[in-house]
């Protein structure tokens, strides 16, 4: 061992239970009797003191404390909602299944493709295509609850969907800003047969184009080879783009609250 290694061991001796008694004694005896180690030890201690003296703890900003408090509130609310959803899930699922079956029949018979150009949908499709090349989640990759809480914080509503009925699972989300400073959230769902990107932002101006099917306030379109679902509730605009069929998207409604 060189002198630096002796000093490194010596500095952590108190809390290091991996070293044998023999080794401890050897390190201690060497460092306390070696001039070079004495100098190195002084340098290490002075550097530590310099750091402690000149790098103060930085108080967490009040805005962060408020954000944390709000997100804990949201987590509490989400937990309550999950508990109550579990209580009522079964009857709702039956009712939804009946409604979906009827709706699917209507769509299969009357399915239409929307052909008029729509800039909002074009932008959504471009984001979807980008997400297929690269999507780095910044929130909720490990848990949809976490994603729900982040969306509640931003938009006041937990716009996280359960698409397991069509084989898609959440890959997490991103919360970004548009060039004009508006918050926009993306959440990606993927499965073996396809994927879906959900885009959420505040938008009072969006008007639903005609030629759609509407179920539970959600508008469905087939547009430029993609299936699109769009909602605009409480000024929160949510558009979903997928390469799966409109019927698949509809089927996923089974999981949505009425």
């Amino acid at each position: 061992m060189n002198h630096r290694q002796y000093v490194e061991l010596y500095l952590g001796l108190d809390a290091d239970d991996e070293l044998s008694q023999e080794k401890r004694r050897e390190v201690s005896d060497h460092v306390t009797s070696c001039k070079e180690c004495e100098t190195l030890l002084a340098t290490e201690r002075e550097t530590r003191a310099m750091l402690r003296e000149n790098v103060p703890q930085i108080p967490a900003p009040d805005a962060l404390r408020q954000r944390i408090s709000a997100s804990l509130d949201a987590a509490d609310r989400a937990e309550s909602r999950i508990m109550s959803a579990r209580r009522f899930k079964r009857p709702i699922r039956w009712a939804a299944a009946v409604a979906i079956a009827a709706l699917l029949a209507v769509i299969i018979v009357n399915g239409r493709t929307h052909s008029t150009a729509n800039p909002a949908f074009d932008a959504a499709i471009a984001s979807y295509v980008d997400s297929q090349r690269k999507f780095v989640p910044t929130v909720g990759a490990a848990s949809t609850d976490e994603l729900a809480v982040a969306l509640i914080n931003q938009f006041g509503v937990p716009l996280v969907w359960d698409f397991s009925s069509i084989g898609l699972t959440s890959r997490g989300g991103r919360i970004d800003k548009t060039p004009d400073g508006k918050v926009v959230a993306y959440s990606l769902y993927q499965g073996s047969k396809g994927s879906l990107l959900c885009i959420i932002k505040r938008d009072d101006s969006f008007r639903f184009p005609s030629g759609d099917q509407v179920v539970k306030g959600i508008h469905f379109y087939r547009y430029k080879g993609y299936s699109i679902a769009a909602t605009n509730r409480y000024s929160v605009f949510c558009v979903m783009v997928t390469n799966l069929s409109v019927a698949d998207l509809e089927r996923a409604l089974d999981r949505l609250p009425a």
Binding site: A15, L51, N54, Q57, L72
Partner: protein, 191 residues
């Protein structure tokens, strides 16, 4: 823990929130960005709240929170840029040397350090610019006053690696500050 939701919340806040400044300081140095530091702290607290039932009251809450924070930071960082895992000890040592060299090169403009308005600003800047692995070890051991063993637990690395990172981190700090430190008569600046 069989407490009600509001009891759990106040217990959690009493245990965890006193360490928020500590978390924020660490997050700010790791991310070098206030917005990311805010996000990292918020995510840490939320994650801790959800798994609070796994925490034993009376044990080291600060170390527990810092472990969550570092885990989240590592996960986010590895998603952003896949980390190379050294296959052998020699490769690891070479990687560390390369990292040290890269850091020294990054700090090759000492003017930035010495032209800071004050010495404490220079120190903070030098710490901010350290490679993350060294910086994380240094913050835990020197600023958070953790033992090498606790720091090893937080960072999920062997205790020997903590020792080495702390020592190299201090050496990099001295190197970065040598011009300023020479004026102040700090020992060992030429090492």
């Amino acid at each position: 823990m069989g407490e009600t939701k509001s009891e759990k919340r106040s217990l959690f806040e009493g245990e965890a929130l006193p360490h928020l400044d500590s978390l924020f300081t660490t997050a700010l140095y790791l991310t070098r960005n206030q917005e990311e530091a805010n996000d990292l702290c918020q995510e840490t607290i939320l994650r801790a709240y959800r798994s609070f039932h796994q925490f034993t009251i009376g044990t080291n809450c600060r170390a527990w929170l810092l472990t969550i924070l570092h885990n989240l930071f590592r996960t986010n960082r590895s998603r952003a840029k896949p980390e190379h895992v050294s296959a052998t000890v020699e490769e690891f040592e070479r990687a560390i040397e390369t990292e040290s060299l890269r850091a020294s090169c990054a700090q090759a403009n000492p003017e930035d350090i010495v032209t800071a308005q004050s010495f404490d600003q220079s120190v903070q800047r030098a710490l901010r610019d350290l490679p993350t692995d060294f910086q994380a070890a240094l913050i835990l051991v020197d600023l958070e006053d953790m033992t090498y063993k606790d720091a090893a637990g937080v960072l999920d690395i062997p205790i020997g690696t903590v020792r080495s990172r702390v020592s190299r981190g201090r050496a990099l700090m001295r190197d970065a500050l040598r011009l300023f430190a020479r004026d102040r008569g700090l020992a060992g600046v030429e090492t």
